[in-house]
Each structure stands twice: as C-alpha cells, then as structure tokens.
Amino acid sequence: MKHINKEQVISTKSKHWIHLWHGFLSDKIAVLSLLIFTFYCLISLAAPLIAPFDVRDPSFMSLENSEIAPYWIDGDSRFLLGTDGQGRDLLSVILYGTRLSLTIGIFAVVIQGVLGICIGLIAGYFGGRLDNFLMRCADIQLSFSNMMVAIIVMALFQTVFGIASYQHLAMYILILVIGLAEWPLFARTVRASVLAEKQKEYIDAARIMGIGSGRIMFKHILPNTVSPLLVIFTIQIANAIIAEAALSFLGLGMPVTQPSLGSLISSGFSYMFSGAWWICVIPSITLIVLILVMNLLGDWLRDHLNPKVYKD
Amino acid sequence: MELLNVHNLNVNFQLKQGDLAALIDISFSLKKGERIAFVGESGAGKSILGFSIVNLISKPGYIKSGSIKLHDNELSHLSNRQMRHIRGKRIAMIFQDPMMTLNPVLTIGEQMVEAILSHTDLRKKEAKNLAIEKLVQVHIASPENRFDQYPHELSGGMRQRVIIAIALLLTPDIIIADEPTTALDVTIQAEILELLKQICDDNNVALILISHDLGVVSRVAERTIVMYAGRIVEQGPTLEIINDPQHPYTQGLLNALPQMSLPGQRLNQISGSMPSLLDRPSGCAFHERCPYAMDKCKQGLPEFLFNGVSHVACFMVEDMLEDLNNDADSTYFDNELDEDLDTSLEIQPQTRGSK
C-alpha cells in the first residue's frame, strides 16, 4: 500500500516545507542572507583548495613580506588582501580562520543542543524533584557569565598542561567549553515545549499503548519541539562564534599559529595605529557579516516557524 | 415593526486561495422582543454572521455587499467609531467563553462601571447602583460582594451571568448570544437558558441565539434559522422546524440526535461532513450528503419557497409544492394556510423568500 501512493506521500509531506520555501523566496533579505551564508560555508569547506597559500607550510610566514597593504593600495598581486604582521597572506588566513570559526561554532552548538535537549526532555517529562534540580542547575550555570567560565577553564588548562599541549588541543577545548557553557538555553526551551506537549492526549495515548518513556520522549515529543529549536540553533551558532572570537581576542582562544577570525582581529589590533589597518578591519568585517547573516536567518525562521518563541 | 433587517448580506474572506464566500445572500429580519436562533454545525458560518451584524469581522473577512438595517439605519457602512456606539448601546454580545469579554485584571464592578460611564452621562455612584441592580436581575446572590471580585474568583456559570448583566447595562435592543452555554454543565446550562429567556421577556429585548444544539434552541427561540455552508437553508417557527422539518439537512440534523432512534439501534447518520470554504460544492451545497439529491441539485440553486409555515430552499420541496398546486388545485393548500394563520402572521414573509 505504501508504494502505490508514493507521489501523493511526497506531495502531502512536503506541503508545509513548500509553503515555507515560498514565503522564504518572497523575503529578499532572507534569500540574500542564505546566499551569503552558503557562500561562507562553501569557502570554509574549500579553504585548502582555494587559498593561495598553505597555512601549514613553514615557509608561509616570512617577515620580509610583513605588513603589505592590500592589492588595490599596494598593487602587489601576490597578496590580494595584503599580509599581516608575520608576513602571512591575509586572504589565506581569513579563509582558514572562517573555517575554524564556523567549525567551532557549529560543533559547540551541537554539544549545547545535545546536552540541552536531553536535560530539557528529562526535566520536562519526569517533572517533580528531578525537574527542580536540573532547572536550578541551569539557573546556576546561567548566573555565571559564559565568558567567565571559559576564561577560568582556559586559564586553568594552560597552567596545568602547559602552553604546548594547549596549542595542540585548543580547538577541541574551545568547542567543549563554549558547548558546556550555554546548554541551559536549549534545556529551558525544550522543557517549556515538553510541558506543553505533555498535557496533550496523544502522549497519554502512547503511554496507554505501553510505549517506554525514552521512546515517547524522543519519538513523540521531540519532533513537536523542533521549530523553536531550529531558531535557537541558528542564533546560537552566531553567539558561539562571537564567544570564540572574544576569547581569542583576549588571548585565551586559538593560538597565533592557527588563527581564527577572533585571534586575527586580536593580533591585528596592535597594528591598527601603525597604519596597517587592514590586518584588523578585514577580518572584522568578515566576522560581522557572518554574524549578521546568521542572526537574520534566525530571525526569519523565528517569525515563520513559531512566532511565540521568546525573544532573547 | 422590524427592529433589525438584514438583506442579501454577503461576507467574503480574502485569502491566499482567493476571495472565498463565507456568507451568501443572508436575509432575515427581527422584531422587537423576538427570540430567533441560528442553527448549524461548525463551518456553517453562524458565528461569522453574528460578528458581521455588529461589524466585528476581522481582517481577511469583509462585508462584500448587502445591507444591515437597525431601526432603518444602515450599519454596514458605519465607521468604527460610530459602530462602537451601536455595539455598546443598541446591540450587546455574549460569547461562549466569558473570559473573552471579561478583563482578568479588573474587578467585575470596575468593568461594569466603565462600560456605563463610557456610554452615558451618569455619575460614578449612579453607575454603581445601576450595575448592582443589573447583577440582581441576573440572580447573582450578594451582588455587593461580587462587585469587588475578579473574574477568576467566579465559577463558569456565575461569569456567564455577569456577562449577561453587562450586556443588559445599557438596555440594548438586541442581544447576540454566540453559543452562550456550550462551555457550561448541563444543569447550569438549563439555568442560564431560562435566565436569558426571562430577561429578554422582561426587558423586551430581542435575542439572536447562535447554537449548534437543537435542544438548546428549542428551549429558547421562537423562530429558527438553519444554516449550511454559508447559506440559510430553512427558516420558520421553531416548533414547526422541529416537528416537521422540510429541508433534508434539517431532517438529517434532527434524526441524528440519539433520542430520535430506539435505544441500542444505530443512529440515522448523515454521511460526510460540512464542506470547507475552499471546496464548497456547486449548486445546492448539501447535494453531496443529501439522500434525495437530484441532477438539478448539482447545477442550480434552489429558491426560497414559503410553504405556508416556513421558508425552505430545496428543489425537492419545490417539486412537492408544485405537485400539490397542480393536483389539488390549491384547495388543500388553502386549508393548510387557514390552520396556520396565527403562526404565519407572526412571521413576516421574507421579501427575498417569497420572490
């Protein structure tokens, strides 16, 4: 029976998404944002292929090329966007930096999401003491500034294991720290949706069928909380990238040898007043556009998927 | 004298799928102190009608054509400000959910006094006395205490009484009650219905009751109008409609009630369900569910015919009346008319219906 009506299936199943897609196409800002975001994703995926220089190559850094202004000022066709203080090609560094920032952002949010969703589901579904305990944990976590937690962890790690091993593991630690710091946002949203869904009779129906709690939580409740999650997901990626940039700017993020957008801005900052403004400004613009685009996408999703989600 | 006269009212909804008709050619009139009821299932358009009369239909909906006359004053063109005056003073509304009308952060008294002050020149003291007087009228015990309570402190039935009292504040000519008892328990429902009926009698207020429950309607209304898919299909005295329904839809609705079949037997169901605005069938909208559907039901629209008692829009009834006229040379029909003279005089023949 299932095979006969496959065409019909597709048409009915995707109706909601087609509707959403048409709404999307009619919103120029949203389309532009998505295009820019895909562009960012593509260049960061293809960074090793399109970058004019290989960042890992030891000869990449040469002080004789340092502080060359961008092509349109200096006319040096080797370095389109100029070079930084260590003589690295800024275009290549930005490409790799974007790749690194996006990776950290996405994976940190995945950690946040998995943690937050599980905790939120458990707290909302079982309720009672467990709910109270988990939500108070979330409150405590939120009452620490994320930045503070990150600074403490990073500083501790650097002193305990030494700078060398830190540089080696910096990316993973950043992902972990940013990921662990912001799970309560997900947990709260999921819990709120779970509490609303739990009241509905289809959950009772599933319980009457004898279906286990785990299956009810993940198979019955979770799909009904997807729309608010999607919105938080986009906006949180932007937030995670900012957090990483801020940490790097403070010198607690990525090491100079593997620059992310944040550490590029940081290292460029000291050249600001010596005339080499591009080292700081170009990565900054790259970062600002990326964050702006993510926020615009998130806002659009919020308006169209679920207007009632709280505004953060 | 006719108090309210609605003539060929068309209400449309401007949606993405097009300009869809929600109400089509609605015509009826209401006399002073008369109680009429609109009956139909969800999707019949009866609530939209209630909102249209007071010009309260919101955005995608609009009045396309037709006239609504109150005391010979046209309402459908009035501005929002002029309409607000009418809504408060001349026409009052009661909704299914009392919390839709009551503001949860103001006491009952504050809301009642505010309503009086905004429409009259009374002073605060006088307004309070008037409000308490109305609370007494709806049989609320210790009205002085209730006056200072918040809506959430009252039970469902009590809230609905307060709503009725608010509706009565400015002595309106018409009360529109949209499913006023659906959210209430059976015993409370009976009391509220009695109250509504009595209040309308005492104050000579006309009542438009909107309900899906024929039992409720039969308790309150003198005249019943049955709606299906945005059209009136039958209207006449309530007793006649219940005892001798003409339109197949009315018959189906009545026969589907459990008390119409023997215990343990299957109920007489109407197959299918009410069509939505999007896929309203051609011709008579009921033909897909009608057990007597003929070919012409699919194409043409039946006219309203007056059979001496009620107005019906159905080809089958049309044919039957024609046969009767031809066969019996209208002698039978005259007798019938004489018998029902009292009732038929009471219902003013509808301008459109008798055409």
Binding site: M1, N5 | A190, E194, L257
Partner: protein, 337 residues
C-alpha cells in the same frame, strides 16, 4: 445475558495537591512559617463493576472525577487507595512492565480529536507503532495488511495512510483514534467524552461506528460523558457521579424512567430536549463546589433541596433498591422522596 465481571473497581480514592511548587507551599503567618497544601479530593471511595460485553456510562458534570476515574483505571494516574481488578488480577499496583499485558486488553479513546493524535506522525506511523510494539513477531507486510484492514473497518480510506492528522476532519480523526485503540485487539475500551468535540451529524457517525465495533469484537465500553441523550441511547447501565462519588447506579431504562437520587433528577430535567419544553428544569442551589476538604456527610448536601441534618453528618451508603438500582441518599433510604 450472564454477568461476568470484567473490571472491578473498589473503594478507589484519589487526591491531588494543587500547589505544585515546593517553595510556595511554605507561607508565613504571624511570624511563623507553616506548610500549607491544598488538596482536591477527586475520587472518594468509588466502587463500580463492569461486566463483560456491556456498556457502562459514567455521567456527571465538570469536576465530578469521571475523567480521573478513567485515568486511574488506565494507569495514567496512581490512585491513593483502593483496588482495581481486571478479571481476577489486581492491576492498580503494577509497574509499567507488569502492566504491559493488560495494555493490550484495555484501550482508551480521548475527548479531543485534535490533541489525541501526534501532529508529526502519519496515520501509518500512529497505527503501526502499537501493532509492531505488541506483536513483534509480525513482518512488515503483515503489519501493513493489518493497518489496511483496520482503516477500512473504521471507514477511512487506506489510501490516506500517509497523511498527517491535520489533513483530516474532527470526525475522521476520532475514527483514527478508534482504529488506534482497536489495533491491539482490546476487550475493554474506555472512552472519555469521545463525542464532545464533534458536530451533531458527525457524533452520530462516530457513535454508530462504536456500536458496530462493539458487536463485531464483543467489546466492553466504559463510556464517560456529560451528554445524557447519548447515554440513554447507548448504554446498558449508568453510573451518576457527583464530587468524586457514585450517587446512583442503575439500568439505563430504570434510571431514565425513575430517577431516584435528587441529583439525577435534576440532571435529567436539565437535558435540553426537543419534545418536552413545558417541563421546567429542577433548579439546584449554587454550582458544583471544588472539594478542597474531605466531605463529611453526603457530597450533594450543599445543593440538595431535600437536605436534612443527617445529610451533613453521615455519608449515605449505596443501597440496593427493589428495581435493581443502587442509590446513595438518605432521603431515598428513609423514603422521604
């Protein structure tokens, strides 16, 4: 018909505490903190027996505990005291795993067809989940076949198997709910106001379907409703509930011809009927109170026109009447009525 008891409920009690936050339970009064807890007494010593193959209707107004009764029987809420037997097995104290075999035998149909189906699951998913769960030995094709026959039997075209609930009307959703309940081949179906959200003409369709299925599978129904017209048509026996107690239990015919409890009389007189408009409904005093305290005496005392001193002191017992009905009322007992 031989009466074989299928479900026995005895002295079932359930209380709910209203304040759920532990912080707000503590409040200060004249400098001393004390713990306050509002308790609602939802069920008070309810005793009912459901015989195989019959339809027992539980009637009452909002807050009389009829839905709580259904949920307690289904194991969705744990009763505070009392016993529930299915056949000769006690089921109220089982854990989820032990209860599993009884899940197949008892099913439930809910009130709101818009909330009782998961909006993100197709009809196929909704129906296949319980079938595959309770019959793990079935192959995919057998499950599909079962779903097809099931859908046909409730009057939904099997071509619509991959549609989502929002594409169906209220009546069709209620049919799917019934199909889901039937999918595990139960003996007992508890229906909690299954018609309340439906239109009159659709109510008839669903009620007919339920009667057809009862005949076909020899089902037992515990039918919870506030609509007495449906009760009169559909049930074999009626239990009238008020404030968590059963106040009258009798055959449908006896109840409608000769209601004994003053509350039943008021309830019957209040049905909006088409034929007897002359009869004025019996007016009760006030409205159904919320039972914050354990009731002393008869639960109906506050609204009863026949209440006497005894009704405020002593709780009436269920007493068998000559015509087979049981009534719990002092006035009936003393033949004051």
């Amino acid at each position: 018909m031989k009466h074989i008891p299928l479900l026995q409920i005895s002295h079932l009690e359930k209380r709910f505490s209203v304040k759920e936050k532990w912080m707000s339970q503590w409040s200060l009064n004249r400098g001393r903190s004390y713990k306050k807890q509002d308790t609602v007494y939802a069920l008070n010593k309810v005793t009912l027996t459901l015989n195989k193959g019959e339809t027992l209707c539980v009637v009452g107004e909002t807050g009389c505990g009829k839905s709580t009764l259904a949920r307690a029987v289904m194991g969705l809420t744990k009763p505070d005291s009392g016993e529930i037997y299915y056949g000769d097995q006690r089921i109220d104290n089982l854990n989820d795993r032990q209860r599993l075999i009884f899940r197949r035998r008892m099913q439930m149909v809910f009130q709101n067809p818009y909330a009782s189906l998961n909006p993100r699951m197709t009809v196929y998913q909704t129906l296949s989940e319980p079938i595959a769960f309770h019959n793990p030995q079935l192959s995919r094709i057998e499950v599909d076949q079962k779903i097809t026959t099931l859908m046909e039997s409730v009057g939904i075209s099997p071509n619509w198997v991959d549609r989502y609930p929002h594409e169906f009307s209220g009546g069709q959703r209620q049919r799917i709910s019934i199909a889901r309940a039937l999918s595990v081949e139960p003996d007992l179906i508890i229906a909690d106001e299954p018609l309340a959200a439906l239109d009159v003409s659709v109510q008839a369709q669903v009620l007919n379907l339920m009667m057809d299925k009862q005949e076909e599978y020899n089902l037992t129904y515990l039918f919870i409703t506030h609509d007495l017209a449906v009760v009169e048509h559909f049930s074999n026996r009626v239990a009238v509930m008020y404030l968590g107690t059963v106040c009258e239990l009798s055959d449908t015919k006896t109840l409608f011809n000769n209601p004994k409890h003053p509350y039943t009389q008021a309830l019957l007189s209040a049905i909006p009927r088409l034929d007897n408009n002359s009869q004025k409904p019996i007016k009760l005093i006030g409205e159904v109170p919320t039972p914050y305290e354990a009731i002393i005496g008869c639960p109906f005392q506050a609204r009863c026109p026949f209440a006497q001193e005894k009704c405020f002191i002593e709780a009436p017992k269920m007493i068998q009447q000559p015509d087979g009905s049981s009534v719990s009322c002092h006035a009936v007992e003393e033949q004051r009525l």
